[in-house]
Structures are given as structure tokens and as C-alpha cells.
Amino acid sequence: MTIVARGLSVHRSGRSILYPTDIIIEPGERVGLVGASGSGKSTLGHALVDTLRARGQSVALVPQSPDDALDPLRSMQFHWREAERALGLDPDVVRRDALFEALRIEAGDMRKRPWAWSRGMQQRFVIALALLGAPDLLVMDEPTSALDPVVAAGTMNLLDAYLKERQTALLLITHDLGLAAARVSRLIVMDACHVVENAPTETVLATPQTSAAKALCAHRNWLELPC
């Protein structure tokens, strides 16, 4: 199903922190949402998720850090069961193991709390939680900034394969153009709470139109990184 959200905007304390924006994402499309820190990327991502959720569409968000997605006082098993219940699913070990297998989660002790797992595994667990409801759109907010480059690349590759198979659309929010360029077909560039560019990745990279996009592209050497 094509994701369409028109006129997304966010105000806080009487100030616009996101000016009206339309987002359209085709099934299975991968879109990168890039911009400098504070340009409103996360705000747009969260607003999109909340709007779609309110409409009853199947969409999931992976926050920047596992600390923002897991309760340190609750076991991994608790998180999993809770997410299943919220989606109205019956407990199913096979489904869980399949997701864990796809994301190469070496299932640590599920009775342990998050901090007993490595951060890389915590993050994969959060991604698995997000995929549990087989969403049409997965929004990832700086999903790998908490991980070292090698683990980040590994996680993204596994996820890529999984999403491709299922025609799940991906909105990748990042300030790391290198990470985005290699994985998305379209780039949305944000600057000062506005969307300033929205074009195929190659177009933005080859002929950036705005100063914000130019500034991001000035760091082309990031593209050489493995992730």
C-alpha cells in the first residue's frame, strides 16, 4: 500500500518545528531522510509514524538508541510478549525464531533485562520488535548511530535483505549521507524544519540544488565507508 501523508506539521510552544510537508512512499521503496542535526528529520519521522498509526496503518519506528526503545527494568521476554499482545498476536516461538534468524540475533537469555545483552543485539532486538507486526513502512531514526561501523553495516545488510523480501518500505532518517546513499533510491533533504529537496539519490548527489544538500554532499568521502 502506498504511504500518503499530506500536510504534516508540528508546533511546539507556539512555534513551528515542522512546516507543512507531504510524504509519499511507494511499497517497498527506500527513502533517505537527511539533514543536519536539528533540521527536523526526527520530528518529521515521528509525526509521520503518529499520523499513520492514528489512521490505523501498519507502521513501526526504530528509535535512535535501544535505550529509547526498551525498559531497563523489564526482561526481553516481557518486551516481546507485550509487543505481541499489543498487535493482537498469539505467542509464537516459530515466528520469533524466524525473525531472530533473519536478523542474526544470537538469542541471549530472554529472561535477562536489556542491559545484559550487547548493544548491537539490543538494537537488532528492537528492529525485530518493529518487524513483528509486518509493517508496511519501517521508519528508522539514526538506527546505527549507537553502534560501531562494523556492527552497523552488518545490521543494515541483514535488514535490507529482509525488507526486500517483504516489500516493506523504509524511511531511513540519518545525518550520515554515506549510510543513506548506498541503501536508498530517493533522498529527502531537510533544512530548518522544511523539506528542501526530494529527488532520486543520484540526482541529489550529482547536482545538489540547495545549500543544505551541498553541505551534506561536501562530505562525499563518507561514501567510501563500508556502511
Binding site: 498509526r53 519506528l61 528509535p63 529509547d68 526503545a69 525498559d71 507485550e82 499489543a86
Partner: protein, 311 residues
């Protein structure tokens, strides 16, 4: 596991130190304890021979460490000795006193919870709203009012003006209401503040939005992810609250002329009845150490990181 053992070890060290401190404080208190005992016992000036007899009886003339040992040994077997004044066993009297104080303290605590939980929940519905400000103001006033004054106000209102409730003694079960209310309102005041800030902090946790976006209902969120985090500071304060309860009970029992641990302690101090005072102090110390030990263990159940950091 090792850290749990350390907890128990720490608890026993605290108890031994308390026993030693209590004993030496009373031992070194100014004035002749034997004379005080004699006056309490005979209501008259007595010849030296009688004083000597009292000294021997109580072991006052054997030196500090011998006296300490001869006091501690039976104590470890649960024998609190005999009153220096009446010569009767301390333990049965102490049990009677506890029988009055425990219901008072428990009721006070329940009243505290009864008022503070709804108040804190209401206050945090809209932080900074008028309800919140009212709750904070009430809690501040409640914490600032000393128990003896609040007690007198309650007596004036409910016993003197309205005549609804008895004010003095402990004849009927209705007699416990005013003292418990005096105690409970103070507890409610401090608990409300702790609960309010605990709830606000727990609701501000960075992971909660992600749970909401996962489709978890507000109710489940409050129950499973807010309440446990908000409980931690409350449990911490609970140990301190116990001190407040006991201290408050002493005061409140005296105001309301109610028998109990407070009255027991005050009259024992007045009569310089060493064994009784020591019994109360030791009992209080045991209670404290036990409750704090339980709190430490409870912490570890809620958040094992606390134990790990400790070790």
C-alpha cells in the same frame, strides 16, 4: 550473592554498634544511675547500703566491659532483663507497649498511602496545573506542621468542638483514630511529594514514546513501565519514613496520653530505667536494620543493576 551476604554482614555490624553506643551513652550519662533508680523505686532518699545493693544488682560497679557483656549475653538470647525500678521483666511490658504502637504506626502509614497515592496521581495528571500546585502546597504545609501542633488542632476540632472522637487514652478502638490521623497526615505529606516527583520522572523516561508507538495502551504503560520506576524512590524513602513513624508515634502517644512504645520510653527515661531504655533502643535498631535490609533486597528484585553496582 556475595553482595547479599555483605548486606547481612553490614546489618549485624550496625546492630552490634547500636548496642555498644546505647550502652555507653547511658553508662556515661551524668549523675549516679543508682541514685536515680533508688529514687524511682523508693520515692525517698536511701542509705548508702541500699545504693550499693542497687549497683551490684545492675552490675554498675563491675566496670564498663563486664557490665556490657553481662547485659548483651542474655539479650542475644532474647532476654531483655528486669526493670531497674520495679524488678519485673521488661519483655512482657514491652510487648504490651508494642501492641499499642504497631496498630497506630500501621494505621498511620495506611492513612498516609490512602491520601498520598490519589493526590500524587491527580497532581501529575497535569504537571503545573492548579491541582498540581494545590497538592504541592498541601504537601508542603503538611510537612511543615509539627505532629504535636497538628495533634492539638485535631483534638480541638474533633474532640472538643464536634465531640465526635475521643482524644485521650486507648480504651476503645475509636481512640486510635485521632493519633493515627495525626501521624498519617504527616506521612501523607512527605509521601505525596516523593510519589509526585517519582511519577513525573517515571513518565518522562525516554523509552516511553517508543512503547506508545508500539501500540501499548496507556493503562498497560502506567502499570508495567511507569509504576515500577516510580516505586523505586518511594521504597527508598520508606526506610526513612519508618524513622518518622516511630519518632512521630513517641510524640503522638504522649500528646494523646496513649500507652505504647513512646510512653514506655519516655517514662523509662524519666526513671533512668536502663534495661527498659536499652530494650526500646535495641528493638528500634533491629526494626530499622531489618526494614532496610528488606528494602535493599527488594531493590535488587526490581532493578538488579543496583546490586551489581554495589558489589
Amino acid at each position: 550473592m556475595a553482595s547479599v551476604l555483605a548486606l547481612f554482614l553490614r546489618a549485624s555490624v550496625v546492630l552490634v554498634c547500636t548496642a555498644l553506643a546505647t550502652f555507653s551513652l547511658l553508662w556515661h550519662a551524668p549523675g549516679d544511675p543508682a541514685l536515680a533508680v533508688a529514687i524511682a523505686r523508693y520515692q525517698a532518699v536511701v542509705p548508702d547500703a541500699v545504693l550499693d545493693q542497687i549497683r551490684t544488682e545492675a552490675g554498675f560497679n563491675t566496670g564498663f566491659w563486664t557490665a556490657f557483656a553481662s547485659w548483651l549475653r542474655p539479650l542475644l538470647q532474647g532476654d531483655f532483663g528486669q526493670s531497674a525500678v520495679t524488678g519485673r521483666d521488661v519483655w512482657p511490658e514491652l510487648v504490651t507497649a508494642i501492641g499499642y504502637t504497631v496498630p497506630l504506626a500501621v494505621l498511620g502509614l495506611l492513612i498516609g498511602l490512602f491520601f498520598s497515592i490519589p493526590l500524587a496521581l491527580l497532581a501529575t495528571k497535569k504537571p503545573g496545573g492548579w491541582l498540581d500546585r494545590l497538592a504541592v502546597a498541601l504537601a508542603s504545609i503538611g510537612a511543615a506542621i509539627p505532629a504535636y501542633w497538628l495533634g492539638l488542632l485535631l483534638i480541638l476540632l474533633f474532640a472538643v468542638q464536634l465531640g465526635w472522637l475521643p482524644a485521650m487514652g486507648a480504651r476503645t478502638s475509636a481512640h486510635v483514630i485521632l493519633p493515627a490521623l495525626t501521624l498519617g497526615l504527616g506521612v501523607a505529606a512527605s509521601l505525596t511529594r516523593i510519589l509526585r516527583s517519582g511519577l513525573l520522572e517515571a513518565r518522562g523516561q525516554s523509552f516511553l514514546p517508543a512503547f506508545r508507538r508500539r501500540g501499548i495502551s496507556r493503562r498497560a504503560l502506567e502499570r508495567d513501565h511507569v509504576a515500577p520506576h516510580a516505586a523505586i524512590p518511594v521504597i527508598t524513602v520508606f526506610g526513612l519514613e519508618l524513622a518518622f513513624l516511630l519518632e512521630g508515634a513517641v510524640m503522638v502517644e504522649v500528646i494523646f496520653a496513649r500507652p505504647g512504645l513512646g510512653t514506655f520510653l519516655v517514662s523509662a527515661i524519666e526513671a533512668r530505667d536502663f534495661p527498659k531504655v536499652q530494650a526500646v533502643v535495641i528493638l528500634t535498631a533491629v526494626l530499622f536494620v531489618t526494614v532496610n535490609l528488606l528494602i535493599d533486597l527488594l531493590y535488587r528484585a526490581i532493578d538488579p543493576r543496583i546490586g551489581e553496582r554495589d558489589a
